[in-house]
């Protein structure tokens, strides 16, 4: 294991985040606050409690997940796309590092960033609604697993993308709709039966549901199903990444 290399990649990526600290923290915090103001305070007062939880509080886990997913994907995809775009990736490919080490470095850094962000948003939410976390261990586990899994997905997207458009395309066309339709802002009980069934095919639903359960003990699907789904997704991403490196897909001509 080339630990110096993992550390070099990780700290290099973290340094990049540090340089752009303001925009990487400020913009998610502002947008989350806006969600709370609009959905929580303005609309939320008109919405009844959901299983004993006020709508404002109900929103918190969903919003954190929304941010966690989008930030993980965009951090990780940008992290690997950029060296590909500028050409500095030559150094990575010529270095005595294994694929696993590269992934640990890049995905680790991206996941760390979005984790920190998730916690910041959680703290921000505390200003707007009374928070309680029923299962803190599970909450952290879901946070970490989600951050890692979607950073992996971002990494894959970053390697696949051969232009800035594609880099934006997946988050825009896939991640955002899936999170909005994944029960971030509502319980699926509120949907007509047909759409409830459709929603069950949305992987994000399982993440949000499990995460919300760790806060309030309420969920759309069972916690076991949530955990299973996220581990399954993690496994798929890992398989794709190892295939990418084995074949040199989009990395080595």
């Amino acid at each position: 294991m080339n630990l110096y290399a993992v550390r070099a990649i990780y700290t290099f990526e973290m340094a990049r985040a540090w340089r752009t600290l303001l925009q990487s923290v400020v913009s998610p915090v502002i947008s989350t606050s806006l969600y709370f103001v609009v959905f929580g305070a303005a609309i939320g007062t008109r919405i009844a409690e959901i299983e004993g939880v006020s709508y404002g509080a109900f929103l918190v886990p969903g919003l954190i997940m929304l941010m966690l997913l989008t930030q993980s994907v965009s951090n990780a995809s940008f992290g690997i796309f950029f060296p590909k775009f500028t050409g500095t990736i030559y150094e990575l490919l010529s270095a005595p590092v294994s694929y696993f080490e590269i992934v640990v470095g890049y995905v680790g850094a991206a996941a760390t960033k979005s984790l920190v962000l998730g916690l910041i948003i959680l703290a921000t939410a505390g200003f707007f609604v009374p928070l309680s976390v029923a299962h803190p261990f599970w909450m952290l586990l879901f946070l970490v697993l989600t951050a890692v899994t979607f950073s992996l997905l971002g990494f894959i997207i970053g390697i696949w993308a051969d232009g800035f458009e594609k880099l934006q395309l997946v988050p825009l066309l896939v991640i955002t709709p899936l999170t909005f339709l994944g029960g971030s802002f509502y319980s699926i009980d509120m949907l007509p039966p047909f759409w409830q069934a459709v929603t069950l095919f949305n992987p994000v639903l399982y993440l949000v549901s499990g995460f919300r359960w760790s806060f309030y003990g309420i969920s759309d699907v069972s916690v076991g199903a949530s955990l299973f789904m996220i581990l399954l997704f993690l496994g798929i991403c890992l398989a794709v990444v190892s295939w990418i490196f084995k074949t040199g897909y989009r990395l080595k001509p």
């Binding site: 080339n2 110096y4 290399a5 550390r7 070099a8 990649i9 290099f12 340094a15 340089r19 060296p83 500028t86 050409g87 500095t88 030559y90 150094e91 990575l92 490919l93 010529s94 270095a95 005595p96 590092v97 294994s98 040199g248 080595k252 001509p253």
Partner: protein
């Protein structure tokens, strides 16, 4: 007595040992076909000797960068194998790559990083523990020390290229690939870079460089390889090539054919051609008129001509010819077209 006999013997024993030193890079039957179907390298066999400067020459698109990229792990080979310091670049990539430094042809940089950070990053990436003193030495040798806290975006092109060299040297490689290190570098800086490369070679690093400047190959290389259309068409000692380059040839068309070169002209490097009708005189253009160096060899056309006259040899015409490395290069490349 005995020691007199033994001394040359021992030397004779030592000789083969020196030549048996295994090559530091071995390329065997290497081929590359890109996804487009383009056949960029065709069955390349090449050995790079430990500690030499090897210059790879070839026109645009010959396959120089492709060859280097395969050795360094940026491009997958289609066929064949490569050993670096005895390690297979695929199955033993960690060992192989940790010995190799690469300065790519294109200038690529993390625009917002500082010189110090990017060079230190490279060292870590190649699995070496931090060593600020080494980085300092490298930056100083490339006259980048004053710029160490500058962001890369603020540097000039020549400086950026030196940063790439510093990155490649950060992990103390045994083998250094320089893909057109002096493209777009001014004359003065080019000389400085040659100096850096020579110092590296003196410290034991093997250097493989590509260049379009024949002058550069002449100046730097121990051996020269020429590649064209994905094939190595020549590998030769530079000295050998320079001999061809430095040697001039005077051809005299004789009135009466000669059977042998007369005894009194034995001091000149003469040879007969065209059935004795032509007398060819080889001389070193660099030595003509230089009494200090050309002392023991009778040189100079004037001397030869008066000696010919004295020997009663008449000629009806004469011409001289000189081949340059550039000429050799161009004719080689054209031959294969």
């Amino acid at each position: 007595m005995t020691s007199n006999i033994e001394a040359p013997l021992r030397r004779a024993e030592r000789e083969p040992e020196r030549t048996v030193v295994p090559p530091v890079v071995v390329v065997e039957n290497l081929s590359k076909t890109y996804a487009s179907g383009f056949h960029a390298l065709k069955n390349i066999d090449l050995e790079i000797r430990r500690g030499e400067i090897f210059a790879l020459l070839g026109p645009n698109g010959a396959g120089k960068t492709t060859l280097i990229s395969i050795i360094c792990g940026l491009v997958n080979a289609s066929e064949g194998r490569v050993l670096a310091d005895g390690f297979d670049i695929v199955s033993d990539y960690r060992e192989a790559r940790s010995r190799i430094g690469l300065v790519p042809q294109e200038l690529t940089n993390e625009a917002f990083e500082t010189v110090w950070a990017t060079v230190s990053f490279s060292r870590g990436l190649f699995g070496k523990p931090p060593d600020p003193e080494h980085i300092e030495r490298v930056l100083k040798s490339l006259t980048l020390w004053d710029k160490r806290n500058n962001k890369l975006i603020t540097l000039s092109g020549g400086m950026k290229r030196r940063v790439l060299i510093a990155k490649a040297l950060s992990h103390e490689p045994k083998i250094l690939f320089l893909d057109e290190p002096t493209a777009g570098v001014d004359v003065e800086l080019r000389r400085e870079m040659w100096e850096v490369v020579r110092r590296l070679r003196d410290s034991g690093v093997t250097i493989i460089l590509t260049t379009h400047y024949i002058e550069e190959a002449e100046e730097m290389a121990d051996r020269i390889g020429v590649i064209n259309h994905g094939e190595i068409i020549l590998v030769e000692e530079k000295r050998e090539l320079m001999r061809k380059l430095g040697s001039k040839q005077l051809t005299l068309h004789l009135r009466h054919p000669l059977e042998t070169v007369p005894e009194r002209l034995a001091g000149y490097r003469l040879e007969l051609a065209a059935g004795g009708k032509e007398l060819i005189y080889h001389y070193d253009a660099n030595l003509v008129g230089d009494h200090d160096e050309g002392g023991d060899e009778a040189s100079g056309i004037a001397a030869l001509l008066s000696d010919l006259d004295a020997a009663g040899i008449r000629f009806k015409d004469l011409h001289t010819k000189q081949s340059s490395l550039e000429e050799i290069f161009v004719s080689l490349v054209r031959e294969r077209r």
